[in-house]
């Protein structure tokens, strides 16, 4: 028996076994397909899951970004609302966004220009009762705490040197670092309730030194010596009231 005769014989037996399909099979299948819509046309389940996760991430990212932008252009740039706080500040946000700015600050996008914030119902004098510094991944942090509420005005003035004018002496002092930011707090008192250091030699990646350069006639000034031109973000937190400044590394 040759291969071809084997094929012919086996096919004859298969033909006898199967016969031909009924003429109605095609219409029957078509009707079944029409009645049964596909449960899923497209990629497998795991791909759909990955796509859903990516879409969710994008949505979350957009929401976070819009939230950060809202903070930056809102009442106080970088202010994080607190359930226990009321909107007690108004601002003239003239901070210029940095080309290097990235939304990694806990208070939102970093700014590299001047900016200011003011409170709507400030105390006659906001008493500083604690000053702290710290460093974290991506930013150095300065916290100035007040015992009785938010001061009336706060100004942030970056500068290209680490030299500041000490007031009221009128004496120039140079901090560690190459650049600086002058923080001016109006309607504040830095000596009645605060007895801690007035010069922090931090030597952090960006914040090299921080020194109080004025505490006179209701104005407190802190100078920051920075390693590079400083971009920063800030926020007021409550319970207790504190000004938190994040300096981008």
């Amino acid at each position: 028996m040759t291969r071809e005769s084997f094929r012919r014989d086996i096919n004859r037996e298969f033909d006898a076994l199967s016969g031909s399909p009924s003429p109605a099979l095609s219409a029957r299948v078509r009707a079944a397909l029409t009645e049964n819509r596909p449960a899923r046309i497209g990629p497998p389940v795991w791909m759909a899951g990955v796509a859903a996760a990516m879409i969710a991430l994008i949505i979350v990212g957009v929401l976070v970004a819009s939230n950060l932008n809202r903070h930056q252009t809102g009442i106080v740039p970088g202010t994080i609302p607190s359930p226990s706080s009321s909107p007690v500040v108004s601002a003239r946000p003239n901070a210029t966004p940095s080309a290097q700015a990235s939304p990694t600050s806990p208070a939102g996008r970093y700014a590299c220009g001047n900016s200011a914030a003011s409170a709507t119902n400030p105390p006659l004098s906001a008493f500083v009762n604690a000053v702290r510094t710290g460093t974290h991944a991506g930013y150095d942090q300065v916290t100035i705490q007040f015992s009785n509420g938010q001061p009336s005005d706060v100004n942030f003035d970056p500068q290209s040197t680490a030299t500041f004018m000490e007031s009221p002496k009128g004496q120039a002092i140079t901090l560690a670092g190459q650049d600086g930011i002058l923080i001016t707090i109006k309607g504040a008192d830095g000596h009645t309730q605060y007895s801690g250091p007035t010069d922090f030699n931090t030597n952090y990646p960006e914040l090299k030194e921080m020194r109080q350069v004025q505490d006179f006639e209701g104005t407190v000034q802190w100078a920051l010596g920075l390693a590079h031109p400083g971009c920063y973000a800030y926020t007021f937190l409550t319970n207790p009231t504190r000004l938190v400044i994040y300096i981008q590394q």
């Binding site: 086996i10 037996e13 199967s18």
Partner: protein, 179 residues
């Protein structure tokens, strides 16, 4: 001067977009081989048509799992048909056990009456999974690589399965004859 040719979506493209009529059109040429495959595996023509219909619906529901282009459709669909035949046999075994007194297995009874030749008896002794590679290779005349894709094995393994099944029908068959 350039000619702008309108690109009309193929039936397969429309099928993947959810067009049932388009999918029926694509599937239509495959119904005959699918039926023959099922009829040989099940030895029951009515059950074969049911299996083909059910396989078509499953293919429609899972069209997104089709790997490759339209040329892969035949092997993919026949593999679904073969799997549906296996499931049908399992269900039928269960119904035969339950209903043996009132509904004997007509396919097997009919087959035994018709099994007059040695070859026919030998085919009847093959299991459905042994018949499958023979149907694909000899009866449907698929190339070896497509047989392999339908069986979801390598071409070498497909050739081996064809050879082993054919040898049970013809003991003097050589491997070279299956190529």
């Amino acid at each position: 001067m350039s000619a702008v040719t309108e690109q009309r979506p193929t039936a397969m493209q429309r099928a993947t977009q959810g067009d049932a009529d388009a999918f029926a059109m694509v599937l239509d040429p495959l119904l005959n081989p699918a039926y023959r495959l099922a009829a040989v595996m099940l030895s029951d023509r009515m059950a074969a048509e049911d299996a083909v219909q059910e396989a078509a619906v499953k293919a429609w529901r899972n069209l997104g799992q089709l790997r490759g282009d339209e040329s892969s459709l035949r092997a993919w669909f026949l593999s679904i048909v073969a799997n549906e035949c296996r499931m049908t046999r399992r269900r039928r075994w269960w119904s035969v056990v339950k209903l043996a007194d009132v509904e004997p297995d007509r396919g097997r009874a009919g087959l035994s009456q018709e099994a007059t030749t040695d070859l026919r008896r030998a085919i009847a002794r093959l299991s459905p999974d042994e018949r499958l590679p023979l149907v694909l290779y000899f009866y449907l005349d698929l190339p070896l690589d497509e047989v392999a894709r339908t069986l979801r094995v390598s071409p070498a393994a497909a050739k081996s399965r064809i050879y082993r099944a054919a040898q049970r029908l013809r003991s003097d068959l050589t491997l070279e004859e299956v190529s």
